[in-house]
């Protein structure tokens, strides 16, 4: 018996351009069919499953190592959409053993994603695994690999903050607003200026359920246009002071060279709104709002640099969390790998014990059959001696087998060969 291996063959956004990935991409039903075809066509392949998203197409398999030859696998993947072999092969990666397991765990935990920590990937991997189960291409080994991948992903999700950090100006602005306000549904945002950034921010706030949007623009028509598009209200630019007290969030993004809002103006607005907290976001360069506004009570003013520095911190935090996630994945891979190794070693030990036991029984029967005159006492001593000899002889080899590093460790292969464990006919 040649040792079987776990392997993974694939292309992803790390290795191949979208033009190539899109030609390989499959839905889960098609992937299950390809899996079935692989099992039929590739000799020595015992189990396989495919995972295909817009960022990756991967096949994980268990079987004879010869089957992991990427050409034969990729050939099956092309599915009537032939690609040049050379073109494809330079983009394909192959992982074996632990590396294959680790790769799958990292994919499921969203550590290999384009946006690290994005939450959809786990559901996608699950759907493809379930398709493989329905199609009957995943067996005991892949069941275990995938279930361990899911539990690793869940641990990463619950024990690290890998998905919880925003890294764009608009999303950080909303995140900060949510730190000030419990809910945005009864809050009103005032957009001063109608630049691209302001529009993006307005969209983010609307998506997060802001109660009202007001648009003030120097050219009133542009304000009206934006207001119509985003279901807001246009307000006249000249009367900012009237609308300011109504605004819980104020976003400035004009190209004005002088401050649009002074400390005194905001102070007055605050008094009129009973000092309810106000969040000002200054996206303008040069700045639209007087920085001293931040000193007012219950007022928070963030300019573009402040937002960028929060983004920077979030990126660092993501990096730290990713490092913790990698540790979790490593631990889970090791735990899976110990199980997998024993799977290969244990049958050898059991086989060895079995064989010795059969020989002992047969020889005892033969000997005791010839010595019929012996009393019970003597028979028991002979049986005990036979057992002791077998145990003493096997003690060392079994102890050593239990310590071996892997299923294809030389000791395992040697033991199987020396003791003839893979021979079909029983020896006499």
């Amino acid at each position: 018996m040649s040792p079987r291996k776990l392997w993974l063959v694939g292309v992803s956004h790390h290795s191949a351009p979208v033009a190539l990935r899109e030609r390989l991409a499959l839905d889960d039903a098609a992937a299950a069919e390809v899996g079935q075809r692989l099992l039929r066509q590739v000799p020595g392949l015992d189990e396989c499953a495919l995972v295909s998203t817009c960022n990756r197409v991967e096949v994980i398999g268990f079987g004879d190592p010869a089957a992991s030859d990427p050409t034969s696998i990729v050939g099956a993947l092309q599915n009537g959409r032939p690609l040049g072999d050379d073109q494809l092969r330079s983009h394909v990666y192959v992982h074996e053993d632990r590396a294959a397991v680790r790769h799958l765990f990292r994919v499921a935990s969203s550590l290999d994603s384009l946006v690290v920590g994005e939450p959809q990937i786990l559901g996608q991997v699950k759907a493809f695994y379930e398709a493989a189960v329905r199609a009957g291409t995943a067996g005991a080994i892949l069941h275990r690999v995938f279930h361990k991948a899911f539990s690793a992903a869940k641990r990463v999700r619950s024990e690290t903050g890998i998905g919880g950090r925003n890294v764009s100006v608009s999303s950080v602005a909303v995140e900060l607003a949510m730190q000030i306000f419990e809910s945005l549904s009864e809050k009103t945002a005032l957009m001063i200026g109608a630049g691209k950034m302001a529009e993006l921010a307005a969209r983010h706030f609307r998506d997060r359920g802001i109660g009202g949007l007001m648009f003030a623009n120097r050219t009133f028509d542009r304000g009206v246009e934006l207001a119509r598009e985003l279901h807001g209200t246009p307000v006249p630019f000249e009367e900012l002071g009237r609308y300011l007290p109504m605004a819980d969030v104020v976003i400035g993004s004009t190209a004005a060279t002088e401050f649009l809002l002074t400390e005194a103006q905001v102070q007055e607005a605050l008094r009129l709104r009973g000092y309810r907290p106000t969040f000002l976001i200054d996206l303008g360069v040069p700045r639209n709002f007087d920085p001293r506004i931040n000193d007012l009570r219950n007022v928070y003013l963030y300019d573009i640099d402040d937002l960028e520095s929060v983004i920077g911190e979030n990126r660092e935090e993501r990096g730290r969390e990713a490092a913790r996630a990698e540790e979790i994945v490593s631990a889970e891979v090791e735990s899976f790998w110990r199980w997998f190794e024993n799977l290969e070693v244990v049958p050898t030990i059991v086989g060895l014990r079995d064989k010795a036991e059969r020989i002992r029984r047969r020889e005892l029967d033969r000997t005791l059959g010839a010595l019929k005159h012996l009393g019970d006492e003597e028979r028991k001593s002979i049986e005990a001696m036979a057992e002791a000899i077998v145990n003493k002889l096997l003690h060392e080899p079994i102890a050593r087998l239990k310590r071996v590093q892997g299923p294809d460790d030389e000791a395992v292969l040697m033991a199987r060969r020396l003791f003839g464990l893979d021979d079909l006919d029983d020896d006499d």
């Binding site: 619950s158 024990e159 903050g161 919880g164 995140e175 900060l176 949510m178 730190q179 000030i180 306000f181 419990e182 008094r271 009973g274 000092y275 309810r276 907290p277 931040n294 009570r297 219950n298 928070y300 963030y302 402040d306 520095s309 929060v310 911190e313």
Partner: protein
């Protein structure tokens, strides 16, 4: 025996406090469920100890300084556990449980044994008065915790260094909680003072005798009255939080100093 039991309670409070703080630092979900459970376990044992002691004494066990501290710690634990529902409030737990542990430790340190309650004071008004007063104090302690978190978060936001959003409640929520707690604490404090006055009237024939504790209570009451009124004229957010912290500091100082330096009728040696 009691001492051993209380030491165990203190130990559990300390571990619970560590759990809350560790949860904030690591965001592990297991700590989030474990910490309140530890706190609840401590509170149950603590409650039994207080009940047992009250039964032995024949009156509710709040006559001495140590008993007062212990009862305040217990009320705080119960009150927090009633409020502890959402993730965001765990941050209050991280402020409240160390405070509980501190009160408990003080109670053990000043421990001097039970005092006989003079017959004149044995009245149904005793449990009414002290329960109201202590509940009021516990509610103010929670308002204090909410305010402390508010000021911390406000500072971070102003300094452009917002922390882990997931674990901290929004400012609006903290401010709202502070307001609601004050609106509960103030009537409790008022009723506590009124019931005390009525009790005093029956015991000594006077509603008010200008002893240190009564004066401090009056000061605290006025402070919270001003604070509550202030909200209607825009004392919200940071200012409300700062004043709540100040109010509780006054309350705590009066509670401790009156008992230590001016032991009148409220300070352990009743009837002096």
């Amino acid at each position: 025996m009691d001492w051993v039991l209380l030491a165990i309670v203190l130990g559990l409070y300390l571990v619970a406090a560590g759990g809350f703080v560790a949860y904030l630092a690591t965001a592990r979900e297991r700590l989030r469920t474990l910490a309140p459970q530890l706190l609840a376990a401590a509170a149950v044992i603590h409650g039994l100890e207080i009940a047992g002691r009250s039964f032995m004494l024949g009156h509710i066990a709040v006559a001495t300084f140590e008993e007062g501290l212990s009862f305040l710690a217990f009320s705080l634990a119960i009150l927090y556990l009633l409020l502890d529902r959402t993730n965001a409030l765990a941050v209050l737990g991280a402020v409240i449980t160390p405070l509980i542990a501190m009160l408990m430790a003080m109670s053990l340190v000043v421990s001097s044994g039970a005092t006989e309650l003079p017959p004149a004071l044995r009245s149904a008004w005793l449990p009414v008065h002290v329960t109201l007063a202590f509940l009021g104090n516990a509610v103010f302690a929670l308002a204090f915790a909410a305010s402390l978190v508010y000021v911390f978060e406000d500072n971070r936001l102003k300094a452009k260094r917002p922390g882990r959003r997931r674990l901290l409640p929004s400012l609006e929520r903290l401010d709202d909680l502070n307001h609601r707690l004050l609106s509960w604490g103030f009537p409790l404090l008022t009723l506590g003072i009124v019931s005390g006055a009525i009790w005093a009237h029956f015991a000594w024939g006077r509603f008010w005798s200008w002893e240190a504790r009564e004066i401090w209570s009056g000061v605290t009451w006025s402070l919270y009255a001003v604070l509550l009124h202030g909200r209607s004229v825009g004392w919200r957010g940071r200012r409300a939080a700062t004043l709540t912290i100040f109010g509780f500091a006054v309350l705590l100082v009066s509670f401790v100093s009156v008992n230590v330096f001016f032991p009148g009728r409220h300070g352990g040696s009743f009837g002096s």
